[in-house]
């Protein structure tokens, strides 16, 4: 009798637990919504880093604040990108997947470069980094616009 009661409770719970271990295969709408959220996170973190570098270039911000926030921005983008990359894109969204993966990868690399430059207080690198961040920001905006 106990098993008769337990099975209907345990089976859905076990299924849910297993579902959490398997990469999700969302429908087109959900996949595009996830892509949009990931791009928005990337836009926010790239813009944050742009502001930080501009402020540091002008001597208006303390180095520890820049280094700490860069760490958080990099972590936040990496986590969001990783969660998005774990999704199985629907076949019709392969093109979107390729574009997102490319621009998110570039953004991640740039945030890593910004961290290194900030740690070294390499202000000479900042103009080039800001220029690259500006370009990736435009790409993110363009891709977001196609999704919203």
């Amino acid at each position: 009798v106990r098993w008769r009661v337990a099975v209907p409770v345990l089976v859905p719970l076990l299924s849910l637990a297993l579902a959490g271990c398997i990469p999700a295969s969302p429908d087109v709408g959900t996949y595009r919504a996830q892509a949009l959220q990931t791009l928005q996170t990337a836009t926010s973190e790239v813009a944050t880093v742009q502001k930080l570098l501009e402020q540091q270039q002008d001597g208006r911000i303390f180095s520890p604040v820049v280094i700490t926030q860069l760490r958080y921005s990099e972590d936040s983008l990496a986590k969001r990108t990783q969660a998005f990359s774990a999704l199985n894109p629907p076949p019709s969204q392969d093109d979107l997947d390729t574009k997102c993966t490319a621009v998110l990868g570039t953004a991640q690399d740039l945030l890593g470069d910004a961290r290194v430059a900030a740690h070294r207080s390499d202000l000479a690198e900042y103009p080039q980094l800001l220029d690259q961040l500006d370009r990736v920001s435009t790409r993110l905006d363009d891709l977001e616009r196609t999704l919203s």
Partner: protein, 410 residues
Amino acid sequence: VKSLFAVALGILTAVGGFVDIGDLVTNGLVGSRFGLSLAWVVVVGVVGIAVFAEMSGRVVAVSGRPTFDIVRERLGPRVGLANLVGSMAVSLLTYVAEIGGVALSLELATSVWEYFWLPFTAAAVWLVLWRAKFDIIENVFGLLGLALVVFAVAVWHLGPDWGGLFHTAVTAAKPGQEDITTYWYFAIALFGAAMTPYEVFFFSSGGVEEKWSEKSIPTMRANVLIGFPLGGMLSLSIAAAASLTLQPASIEVNTLGQVALPVSIALGKLGLAIALLGFFAATFGAACETGLSVGYSIAQYFGWQWGKFVPPMQAARFHAVLLLSTLLAVAILLTTIDPVLVTEFSVVFSAIALPLTYLPILIVANDEQYMGHRSNRWLANTLGSIYMVVVVVASLAAIPLMIITNMGTT
């Protein structure tokens, strides 16, 4: 002159002590996403906390006993227990968030990892709770918290279109790209941040610590009716600064560093240094207040000796609760949970627990047996009743909205 100084000091500490990690993060986040379109919630929240803080302060001044001691006696142990569990759980969660907030402030100032700071922060908070006098805790951190006025200066220095800001605040127009459910989710989070239960616990128990009598009622009212609204202005200036600098750049606030960024943009290093001092004071002061609130609530429910007005040896169980809750808080944070996430949970769960905290206050403040001629009059009862409807609605809507919006991320 002495009484004027006491009133002024009370008001200033009420202003400086109003903002905590919940207000910092929630107002920064809301400002960066919704501009000032949710400013009305801060106003509603400040009026609400002022209404109930005045009631609980009056109860203490008349009876000489903390509100929740009377709640248990007047409404019985079962209602008292529901009140204790709901309010204390939220206070404990807020305590975790505040200690995390202190560590984040130190990390921001030094770039040394927050987890390094956690044990030192917890030890410092516990040491202050154990050794420092009540008025030192209240006044020092309250006054230092005034450093957050730098956000108002930053807004003024940014030279905004005041008409446009005022228009957004008055029309409460949701930004087009945001979902209506997300708008209401953040409205409840802001409301919970403004009306956190620990504020009333601390305020009423603090009245006993400071030996309020009926003569203290005018001073208490000045603190509540002037200090809290001015504290609310600080919250609004954090949101306004974020809306002016971060929203146009599509930056969504998720960290304390992003909350500080508008001050750096407006005022440079000096402003930023003051903001960091304000973060530290606000979170450390609130950590002491929430820690004490956890101790107050448990000790008052079980009828133990409590408070800073007696030596620790005479209130050993109260101090044991303070120590254990501090150890629990640091243990939770050392699991590497994000303190900002804990903060987001704490403000939403505050909203859920609001009826459990505020309904008993309304009942006790109406009881002539305790209050005599100082029981609630029509204005306090009308406002109290309206707010009970608001807090019940917010409490019921909080969890469904949290699930639907995935904690505001949709």
